[in-house]
């Protein structure tokens, strides 16, 4: 058995002169396969050659070459051809005296020739219908005075446009009534396999009221079963509308008499299917005045086949939307921050975790931000303190075609001083465009724990290694800077009961000099309730996450003191008492300035642990000394 040739042939190609022959022969082969004779094929070849030539020469004047699409379709005794370009339309052009000849040729070769603006006003669409005895297919009605061909073209246009499931279904039923039916219903098959009404139209006895009723009508169980059964067969089905049938599909006698006022003779159920997948059904109600439906079934099914394409688009789109929503829900629920950005660094997707990490109030704020705007809210460095600029981030390196290893960064939020340790991995999203997906893992806790552990191990060794505790304390202070604080001071109470500075370590030598000067000129006054004295007095630690100008002014003893304090640029501070066996023997001071880091409770707990160990070591050394 020889497989039947496909009822439709479609090609879309670049609008180059060489495609004229390719498309001409494509249509010829299609028509020959469907049994067209050589005369008809010669007509088609000539007309298609003209239409494609026109598309190439005239449609792309003064602009880049576009695309040309062609569709051939077999009908009963005919072949339909559509040539579509995305150019500027078939404007007559001074350099093209051949155009007149070409149009003459098309009109002479085709039984129907129609040239109009392409869908959505783009380009030109040439429709050609050829008589082709011997070709089998639906009756398209291409003869003079037969408007069925026009109707098919209109249905196709509605189905192909983007109005699904928006206005498309309503436009479709309004087109069908009253041209080929008195009532029309459009149902979509839902997930449970049952038809759901999408649109309906009716013109006849009972008027608009009945039309509205039809659009909102919920079919009875029996009717659903009847419809589903007929749709399952995959073939159109004609029902005679009589009392028995109306009673069978009505919810109650009132509805039955209501439906009877429509005075329909036949109801045709047409399956809407694409590639054997049942998408829905098109129902047509015909009054007794219309021709018997059996005669027009091939044509009616041709209408339904075109409408099905609109459905296919809708279902495809909604499927894509569902997938996307599902995907976004999964990403949204991830603890890791995920962002997707383009080559400019513009963020096109971010989940909740990413918004939190980027210090944004919402995902929308992240999406609205300009490239670099969010990164600018942070001071980003590597572990060794060297600065990281945006071009160093893995996602940007990836899209620049560079190596993009996972990057560990310390990000300090400028506004809050919060410190994040972030591990950023980037992968490319192959989505047509150039997009990078970043998975940003917040490793702050792990990183802090690791660093503190290392610190305690190193400090512990120092504290037991020497009896020169003043030198030891200087080493311990040095351990804090710069990884845990920008500067660290240790003051001990001497035998006379005065505070002596044992260590001051600062990452910036110039600022160390100023801090020394400050200490010399304004030594801490014991017996007050401020700063070091207060901590020494009651032993309670002092945590100042953010030092304000007002605080400095309140602390300063005079204008010069305030100036010196301001010059140090202190951002955050912790003061912790060194206590051994109930005696407060000194104070550990930790300050952040340039890094903009703010100390938090976990930093304070850690500082207290270090202070406890240091105090014991000092106490032991003193006793033994």
């Amino acid at each position: 058995m020889i497989a039947a040739p496909a009822p439709r042939w479609h090609r879309e190609v670049d609008a180059e002169p060489t495609v004229v022959a390719e498309l001409r022969h494509g249509v010829a082969d299609f028509a020959l396969a469907h049994g067209a004779d050589q005369d008809a094929v010669n007509n088609m070849m000539l007309a298609v050659s003209e239409a494609v030539t026109n598309a190439i020469i005239h449609a792309f004047v003064g602009r880049e070459r576009g695309r040309v699409g062609i569709t051939a379709e077999a009908g009963e005794g005919c072949v339909l051809v559509r040539v579509l370009d995305d150019g500027r339309g078939m404007t007559p052009h001074p350099e093209s005296p051949g155009l007149g000849l070409g149009l003459t040729m098309m009109a002479s070769m085709a039984t129907r020739c129609d040239i109009r603006e392409g869908p959505s006003g783009v380009g030109t669409e040439v429709r050609l219908a050829f008589d082709a005895p011997g070709v089998a297919g639906p009756a398209f009605g291409i003869g003079e005075g037969d408007d069925r061909f026009e109707l098919l073209v209109e249905v196709e246009r509605i189905a192909d446009q983007a109005g699904w499931p928006g206005e498309g279904p309503d436009e479709l039923v309004a087109l069908i009534v009253p041209r080929i039916a008195d009532a029309c219903t459009l149902d979509i098959v839902d997930a449970a396999g049952e038809p759901q009404r999408l649109a309906a139209h009716y013109e006849g006895p009972g008027g608009p009221e009945l039309a509205e009723y039809l659009a909102a009508r919920r079919p009875t169980r029996e009717q659903i079963e009847l419809t589903v059964a007929s749709l399952r067969s995959g073939r159109p089905r004609v029902l005679t509308v009589d009392d028995e049938m109306v009673d069978a599909i009505s919810h109650d006698p009132d509805e039955a008499s209501w439906l009877r006022t429509m005075d329909l003779a036949h109801w045709v159920n047409l399956p809407l299917q694409v590639s054997d997948q049942l998408l829905g059904s098109l129902g047509l109600g015909l009054s007794p005045a219309r021709a018997a439906p059996e005669e027009q079934l091939p044509f009616l099914q041709a209408v339904a086949d075109r409408a099905a394409r609109g459905f296919a688009n809708t279902q495809l789109i909604s499927e894509l939307q569902r997938t996307r929503q599902r995907f976004e829900r999964i990403l949204g629920a991830l603890a890791e921050a995920v962002t997707v950005h383009d080559e400019r660094g513009k963020v096109v997707y971010a989940n909740e975790a990413a918004a939190r990490l980027l210090g944004a109030a919402s995902v929308d704020e992240v999406l609205a931000a300009e490239p670099g705007e969010l990164a600018g809210r942070f001071i980003i460095t590597r572990e060794d303190g060297s600065p990281v600029v945006e071009a160093d981030l893995p996602g940007r390196r990836l899209l620049a075609g560079e190596e993009h290893p996972t990057l560990l960064t310390r990000s300090v939020e400028r506004s809050s001083g919060r410190v994040y340790w972030l591990l950023t991995k980037a992968t490319q999203l192959d989505d047509g465009g150039r997009l990078a997906v970043n998975i940003i893992e917040d490793v702050t806790e792990e990183k802090n724990a690791e660093r503190r552990q290392r610190f305690l191990a190193e400090a512990g060794e120092l504290l037991v290694s020497s009896r020169d505790y003043e030198q030891t304390l200087q080493h311990v202070a040095a351990l804090f800077v710069p990884s845990l604080a920008d500067w660290c001071a240790l003051d001990l109470v001497d035998d006379a009961g005065d505070l002596q500075r044992v260590a001051l370590v600062h990452g910036d030598p110039e600022k160390k000099r100023r801090a020394d000067e400050l200490h010399e000129r304004y030594p801490p006054r014991l017996g007050t309730d401020q700063g070091l004295a207060a901590v020494l007095l009651d032993g309670r630690s002092l945590l100042v996450p953010e030092i304000t100008d007002e605080m400095l002014a309140a602390t300063a003893r005079d204008a010069e003191h305030e100036r010196l304090l301001a010059e140090l640029g202190m951002r955050s501070a912790m003061l912790v008492a060194l206590t051994a066996h109930g005696d407060r023997i000194g104070v550990l001071s930790l300050v952040n300035s340039d890094s903009q880091r703010a100390f938090d409770d976990s930093d304070l707990a850690f500082a207290e642990e270090v202070a406890r160990r240091a105090a014991l070591a000092v106490d032991n050394a003193r006793r033994l000394g």
């Binding site: 060489t18 004229v20 001409r24 040729m105």
Partner: protein, 108 residues
């Protein structure tokens, strides 16, 4: 197969030339033929023949070229003769009413 769908061959003898067109002439093939016809017209011939017998396909692009050639030959008083092609090609001249503009003479 759309490769080599069209070829032409020129046979020059004294002051006359015969250009034989073979295959399918359309937009993609018309430029080299036009260049050849321009060259021949500039050669001071006293007779030019275009042989369409082996031409399988002709559309308005090729017809337009022949019309241009005819005007050019007329202005140069150069006699132009076409050797008729197969019915599908000849039909084109009839549909467009251009058959009266050309002198068709079967091959000798």
């Amino acid at each position: 197969v759309t490769e080599d769908v069209f070829e032409f061959a020129t046979h020059e003898q004294g002051d006359s030339a015969v250009v034989r067109l073979v295959g399918e002439l359309d937009l993609a093939e018309v430029a080299p033929l036009k260049a050849e016809l321009d060259r021949l017209c500039a050669n001071g011939l006293d007779r030019l023949t275009v042989d369409l017998r082996e031409l399988d396909f002709l559309d308005s692009t090729g017809l337009h070229l022949l019309m241009q050639l005819r005007s050019h030959c007329e202005s140069q008083e150069l006699p132009l003769t076409l050797v008729p092609g197969p019915p599908s090609v000849q039909r084109l001249f009839q549909i467009t009413g251009t058959d009266d503009h050309f002198t068709f003479e079967p091959a000798p």
